[in-house]
């Protein structure tokens, strides 16, 4: 079942989408990933990882209501 989740964009992902955050309906992170690339094809050219509720995602995961997913391009701190 699709759940409403919040997606946050950072760094080059924010520049690519022109948004800081957005709501999506998705059942899992794989489905969300597909929707993101469909809506923003340029994201496919950007290497990015995802964080689920502030933890870096190591494998695709089922989504729960009110989950927060962050789109994280390569880190550039330092």
């Amino acid at each position: 079942m699709d759940i409403s989740v919040t997606v946050l964009y950072f760094g080059a992902a924010e520049a690519t989408t022109g948004r800081k955050e957005e709501e999506f309906l998705a059942g899992d992170t794989a489905s969300l990933r597909r929707q993101l690339i469909t809506r923003y094809p340029d994201l496919a050219r950007l290497p990015f990882r995802m964080a689920l509720n502030r933890t870096l995602l190591k494998e695709e995961s089922v989504l729960q209501k009110s989950d927060i997913i962050a789109i994280l391009p390569p880190f550039q701190g330092g």
């Binding site: 950072f10 760094g11 502030r54 550039q76 330092g78």
Partner: protein, 133 residues
Amino acid sequence: MKNRYLVGGPITPILVSELMTLGNDDTGTGAVSIFIGRVRDDEAAGRRVTAIEYSAYEEMAGKEADEIVRTVKSAFSDVRSVIIVHSLGLVKAGEASLFIMVTSGHRDQGTRACRHTLEMVKERLPIWKKELF
């Protein structure tokens, strides 16, 4: 400061001197190892960087920095404290954007832990930069 790890704007000499007093009451510390990262005026496509604008996923950065401190302390038994401060927002070329300080009983573990902390900061803190020319 936005949280204990993030500060708006450059890491000023005044802030550095304040941070250096942290742990002064711990008389078991014999070594203080500090790394300061500064914005470099790199050249890109014939233009010089004049400043960098940093942004972060602040909530995750706090959690990851907590984890880095825990990891470094457990990997180096002689380490007594680990301080990490990163800039957010605008930092001009020549100004500091990263401060790492490790206090330890002796120099060997302290200097190695400082380097290790730096590498983990670069690898794990969700921070991004936009170069301004």
